[in-house]
Amino acid sequence: MNEPRRDRGWRRAVVAACLVANAAGAVGQATPKEVVDVMSSRVLEVLRDESLSTETKRTQVEEVIYQHVDFETLSRLVMGRNWRQLSDSEKKEFMVEFRRHLSDTYGENVDNYRNEKVSILSAREEKRGDVTVKSKILRGGADDVIVNYRLRKKTDQWRIIDVVIEGVSLVANFRSQFQEIMTNGGPQRLLKLLREKNVGPPPGANPDPS
């Protein structure tokens, strides 16, 4: 009798310890700095891996980025005032096409990796509880690039909602562009331009240099 009971007690202690560890894990979510750190090192790991094909690299980088970027908030911020002018189906289409546009244009550069390193510098709390994480892409001296990530906590997870490269915010930049397009042609024109960018221009179309 004594033996099994002691055994049960030991097992219970292990289970309890696991539960406590688990709970602690859930409470101690990754900080914004850790999110950026994990994401950058994972991306660099993929880019460095010479055994991977371009296509595999692209999908793997995409996976990492999708995991850490809040595309819904990003889409809303990019559209700003115009978000309300979109119907629900237009909103959905916009999010899909915009995300694809970003992955396409940035995914094309997976083979241009030239031994860059990333150093995470500091984190700063912003208004509304957002956090900006400052980082630097090290390419040697004058070529270093300062990249700031803005993160927001949603459902207990810090995710990226903007990237600011050398002082230029991606969200603000796209917002200016989309604002101009919406003013001159409404949501239909914006979605049409995005679709065309994503699949390439229709055959026979003249690329307009201006």
Binding site: Y106, G141, G167
Partner: protein, 265 residues
């Protein structure tokens, strides 16, 4: 680069700058806080189209040709050399903005790179914490409270505004070396420098073209944001002010949206 303004066919650009500067003086300050302060958009888009064609058919191909016949080390060295000889511009503008420590750092940087860095061809100073500074008269004027004026696209020079265009001319007087060089030397050097920098930025430029739906607006906004960040010095952005004012506006909009959503529910 700047002394080009005073030679022959560039006089027209200088004339345009002067006219735009006068226009800029009559624009109230409040408008200047907006990135889309672009009343001359019709003219600007045409100039942008011209610049794009020049880049596609002349400068771009020439730069890629230059990149194929030269090793990267040479292109980087030339870029370093040019950064180094901009020393008087950076130092004087730091002083004009009353940033004496930054001026001192720039002087130390120049001393290190000119000696250890072999006439500035290498950049050992960056590794010693004396990093490249970007300072010019456009930023100094901004610090002095001069409004930017409307966005203008200069032929050949690209995105600008009256304040920065005036700054460009003023800075050219600080590029003292060219006072002693014959015309063809300064023109040759500056042209080569433009080609070289274009070659080094080739991938970034192609990426930007692909990533934007309206490249004209992309450039206008990027120019505005970048200049604002430089005027505040990138380091000051750390203090919590600066670039993020734009974001605050965004978040206010989002709050409005949420309020509207709540009403609808």
């Amino acid at each position: 680069m700047t002394p080009l303004l005073f030679h022959g066919r560039f006089q027209r650009a200088a004339g345009c700058v002067a006219i735009c500067a006068m226009l800029g003086a009559s624009i109230p300050t409040t408008v200047n806080a907006q990135s889309n302060n672009d009343p001359l958009q019709g003219l600007n888009r045409r100039t942008h189209g011209l610049n794009e064609r020049l880049d596609r058919f002349v400068l771009g191909p020439v730069a890629r040709g230059w990149a194929t016949i030269t090793p990267e080390l040479l292109r980087e060295s030339l870029r370093n050399f040019d950064n180094n000889i901009r020393f008087p511009i950076v130092a004087v503008n730091n002083i004009l903005q009353w940033k004496w420590r930054a001026a001192g750092r720039e002087t130390a940087r120049f001393a290190v790179n000119t000696t250890v860095g072999i006439l500035g061809l290498r950049d050992p100073a960056s590794g010693m914490g004396l990093e490249l500074q970007i300072e010019d008269m456009g930023q100094t004027l901004a610090v002095w409270g001069v409004p930017a004026g409307p966005y203008i696209v200069l032929p050949l020079f690209g995105p600008s505004n009256p304040r920065d265009a005036v700054g460009l001319v003023a800075d050219s007087f600080l590029a003292v070396y060219w006072m002693y060089a014959p015309f063809y030397v300064s023109l040759g050097y500056n042209s080569l420098n433009v080609v070289n920098r274009r070659a080094l930025a080739d991938r970034d430029i192609e990426n930007a073209r692909k990533a934007s739906l309206d490249f004209y607006v992309f450039l206008r906004d990027a120019y505005f944001q970048r200049r604002s960040a430089l005027i505040r010095d990138m380091a000051d952005v750390d203090a919590g002010e600066g670039v993020y004012e734009i974001d605050d506006d965004l978040y206010e909009l989002e709050d409005e949206d949420e309020a509207v959503d709540d009403e609808n529910e």
